[in-house]
Each structure stands twice: as structure tokens, then as C-alpha cells.
Amino acid sequence: MGELKLMKGNEAIAEAAIREGVDAYFGYPITPQSEVIEYLMMEKPHERTGMVVLQAESELAAINMVYGAASVGRKVFTSSSSPGISLYQEGISYIAGAELPCVIANVVRGGPGLGTIQPSQADYFQTVKGGGHGDYRLFTLAPSSVQEMADFIELGFEIAFKYRNPVMILSDGMIGQMMEKVELKDQKPRWSADEIKAMHGSWATIGKPESRERNIITSLDLDPHKQEKHNHHLQAKYRQMEKEEVRYETFDTDDAEYLIVAYGSSARIAQKTIMLAREKGIKVGLLRPITLYPFPEKPLAELASRMKGVLSVEMSAGQMVEDVRLAVGCSDIPVEHFGRYGGVIHSPDEVLEALEQKIIGGK
């Protein structure tokens, strides 16, 4: 068993990054995730592993520092919160276009605009439908506990390097700020220069020896036919992710007549709702997407086919519900959304009430 600690989600993700052997973190302070860079600065990871931590002058600079360090085959991590993540979008599009690996964490707060510093899940569209320009996909992991904040660092880098694609850890202010018990992994050594050369020397711009052609990191091709071909390559990668990387969890679905679909904080709340419902004799189960892109549409479709109704619960005005409806398809059963938003967290009772009114009463 690894070391057990009581930590905030923001601290756990920072500590996990050091232990993962991450080479660099670049970031800019923003509530509710400033503890990530504060923890890293306090921990002096340069002395522990040689990891670089730098506070950038803006989110624009931070994401482009990520782009730079990722270009040379390093493990790079950054984190921010909603308004800052909006500023990251240009860089994320370039990173996806240039096929660079990195892990980004968004500790989501309420919006739009400056919004509020309280938790929200209203960045779902921005994360899984684009955000930046062009046809790209952001691999998205949604932690629902402090433990998963830590665990998704390792998984995130595994995926990021396997596909040479940016990975987003989409949490929220509740997961970032709350304290839970977390089991930390042992320290991994950072990759050596020789290991990086062996693993990533075919593409990383680590310096051109005479023996090979130059490596170029770019998202540009002025020839539209070449750019289309590049896009075909990206799309093939996304199809492979959709086939091989879907992750989800189910809870109490065996005998369920109704299904709640919820991720992150909302999934934790929904678990309590299910307990309350079952006390009243209502058989409800939960499907928790762990990957939001790729979305677990097949498992959801299969489960929904034996349900009387589906309620999508998220702290937004209704974003993931669009993917839930696409997955369930044309069906007679009701598929509805419920959620508080703008920084307000729904209670288990409110979710149960919505289930009774919108799904059970509405059938």
C-alpha cells in the first residue's frame, strides 16, 4: 500500500505530478485551483526530482510554455480554472494540431465570464466539443474524488504519450477544494535524456544530429490536401480512442428501473440520491462516465434499453445531457436534465425530487 495522506484535491494532483516524474509545471494563479502551484512551489520539486515549476505571466504564456516543453518530449503538466482555461484554448488547439502530449487540469468554477469561484460543471461543452478552433478532440478524464485527482495524473500521461494528444482532467471547485484520504503512488524517476531520445527521438525537437532529418513541431500546412491528410490521421487517432479508451463505472444498476448519468461531483451526490430513492422503494442506478471524451455511449445505450427513464445530472444548465440523448437515441423513455448551476451545488434531495417529477412522474 502506498503512503496515505489527508489532502485537498488540488494538493493531491500536485503531489501526484511530482511522484509521476513530471518534468515541468507551468501555471498562473486562479481560484479555486491556486493550491496546485502553491503546493508545488512549497514542495521544491526541483530538489526532489529536478522538476521545473514556473509561474507564467499569463495563461497564454503558461500553455505555450507547456507547448515548448512538450515539443522536446518531456512530461508537462498545467492547471487552471474556467476563465484561465478559456485563455488556454488557442494553445490546446495548437498542441492537438501539432500532436503533443501534455496533461491539463481544469478545476471548474461557475461562469460565464468571471462568473464565480464556486464549483460548476459548465465547461463540458468547451472541453469535449472543442473550445479551441479546428477539428480536434481533447481526451477528457473526470475525477469524482481526491483519489482520482491523484490517479488520473499517471493515467493521463499514459494516454497523452500513447496518442500524442493533450489530456484534460476535468474536475471542479468541490473536488479541488475538499479534503479526503488519498493513497499516493511511490516516486517514479523522471525520464533520462537517453530514455527520451529512445522513446520520442523520432519526433521531439531535442536537437538534430547529422544522422537524421530535422524534427519539426508544427500544426501548419498551407497545402489544403496535406492538411486534410493530417486531419484524417488525427481523426483515425480519435476513432481509436473511442474504440479502446472508454472508461466508466456503474452503481446499483443490476435491478434498476431508472438511471442517473452523472460525472465528477454530481456522481458523488447522485450516489446519495440513489440510497434515498431506494429507501422509498424506487430502484435507481448510476452510470458515471470517467472519460467524457470518448463518451461511454455504448454502455449507456445498453443500460438505457432496459430503463424506464434516464436523468442526466450535472452542475450546468444541461450540457452532457445532449450526449446522453444521442447515446439513448430515439426511444419512448424520458431523458431529462437536472442541475443547479452558476456555482450552486445540488443536494441529493433535489436530485431525487427532479427524478420523481421529471422522469417517474413524466413517463
Partner: protein, 261 residues
């Protein structure tokens, strides 16, 4: 007297050859433009110092967006204005490498002002090569932050009006004020003498980078005959008469000290 070309191309007649660190790709620059020369002297310095494998370049957005097609080294293409941040990311994880950005005036002094100022202020151990031709060439001759007062461009068709369009920005003098810059100079590449001086400046910038003393910054005032709508020779004359008085050539900061004029 019949002399064939093949009789002239002989080893003893060879006075100059293209550096192997420039690729054989045809330059995308307009005939008469200074970019090709600025590329060449940069790559000659890398070649002569024998640091091809130790050098990583960052291409900007602008006319030199395709610099990676011409420079025979590992290169990264950056988003508009972000090259100093990209260079920071690379240099911080590979401090043993020579890292340089190659940026135009719109990239460096307009959209990328923040990244430029802060990389310079942090004293990143990188070299910035800044091509200033007072115009946006790539997009077809729009006004740049460095466009001179009264200068006509496609977005200042009646001349740059300082009252409504702001003043030309002397970004090089500005970054020289920052403690993080160690060597700041302004050069040109329009005459053989200027090319030799500019190349010496680029070499010095790379050599100082290895000493980890902060940013080394080489501005090259250059022409844009297409954007200025002049034949190349006339563009160079116009540059001498109009650009050089406002952007005077010479060292601005040496050994971390401002040069007294």
C-alpha cells in the same frame, strides 16, 4: 572566347558556398527581402560553432512562419506572438541547449508584447532574433507596431496618424531597460558590411547564451519591398533614409550595461 560555366565552377574559384544548415527548399520570401540573409547568417553561426545538434529554433507567425522549412535544425512553430513562452518552456527543461526565437515586428512587438517583456524580464537564457520591417508582410502589408509616423500601409492608407493610431514602438530600447537582458543590439542586412556586423552580433548572442547571463536580443532592421511597394534597391534607400534615423543601428546594451550615447 568561349568559356562554359563548367570551366568556371572549379574548387580554386570557390569563394563562397551555402551553409549545409540551410536546406535546399526554395525560400518563400520576396526577391529583395532581408529574411533570407538573416536566416543565412543565423545558420552560418550555428554551423561555424558546430552546434546543430545543440540548437532548437522557434518560428513565429508572419512571413517567417515557414523558417523551419529553410533552417536545417530541429524547430518548433509557435502561435502568433508566443515564441518567447515556447522558448522558455524548452530552455527550462533543456538548459544545455541553444534556444532561439526568430520573430517579426507584429509577432514580437504587438500580439506577443507580454511574452517578449516577461521572457526578457525573467532573464531567460535564450536568443531573440527580431526582424523589424515596420509592416505586416505575410497578411499583405498592414500597419505594424513599428510602422513609422506617416507611413502608408493597407490599414493606414493615408499614413500612420499618431493621434489615432498610436506611436511606433521602440521595443528594443524598451527590453534593454530590463535587468534580464544582457546583450541588446540593432543591426541591418542591406549591405555586405552590415551583413558582416549583423553576423558578428548573432554569433555574440549565441556565445553569451552559453554563459547563462540572460536574454540576448538582436534586432535586424530590414526592408519589405513588397509591403512598402518599392523596388528592392529603392526600399533599401528608403530604409536608410527613414527607418535608420528612428531605429538607429548599433549596440544598445552590452555586458548587461546600457551603452551611453
Amino acid at each position: 572566347m568561349d568559356i562554359a560555366i563548367k570551366d568556371i565552377i572549379k574548387k580554386e574559384n570557390l569563394v563562397y558556398t551555402k551553409t549545409k544548415l540551410m536546406t535546399d527548399n526554395v525560400l518563400s520570401y520576396c526577391p529583395g527581402c532581408g529574411h533570407g540573409t538573416a536566416h543565412r547568417i543565423t545558420m552560418e553561426v550555428v554551423d561555424e560553432k558546430g552546434i546543430q545538434e545543440q540548437t532548437i529554433g522557434i518560428a513565429p507567425v508572419g512571413c517567417s512562419v515557414l523558417a523551419y522549412e529553410f533552417m536545417n535544425i530541429d524547430m518548433v512553430q509557435a502561435a502568433h506572438g508566443r515564441a518567447p513562452a515556447v522558448a522558455t518552456g524548452i530552455k527550462r527543461v533543456m538548459p544545455e541547449k541553444y534556444v532561439f526565437t526568430y520573430q517579426g515586428d507584429g509577432d514580437l512587438a504587438a500580439i506577443g508584447t507580454s511574452e517578449t517583456i516577461h521572457a526578457c524580464n525573467r532573464g531567460e537564457n535564450i536568443t531573440i532574433i527580431f526582424i523589424n520591417n515596420g509592416i505586416y508582410g505575410m497578411t499583405g502589408g498592414q500597419m505594424a507596431p513599428t510602422t513609422l509616423a506617416g507611413m502608408k500601409t493597407s490599414t493606414s492608407p493615408f499614413g500612420r496618424d499618431l493621434h489615432s493610431m498610436g506611436n511606433p514602438l521602440k521595443i528594443t530600447e524598451l527590453v534593454a531597460q530590463l535587468p534580464g537582458t544582457y546583450y541588446v543590439t540593432r543591426q541591418a542586412v542591406h549591405t555586405p558590411a552590415a551583413v558582416r556586423k549583423a553576423k558578428r552580433a548573432v554569433r555574440k548572442a549565441f556565445e553569451l547564451q552559453a554563459e547563462n547571463k540572460g536574454v540576448t536580443f538582436v534586432e535586424i532592421v530590414s526592408n519589405c519591398n513588397s509591403g512598402w511597394k518599392m523596388p528592392p534597391v529603392q526600399a533599401n534607400e528608403w530604409m536608410e533614409e527613414n527607418m535608420f534615423p528612428f531605429y538607429p543601428l548599433g549596440d544598445i546594451k552590452v555586458d548587461g550595461e546600457l551603452v551611453k550615447k
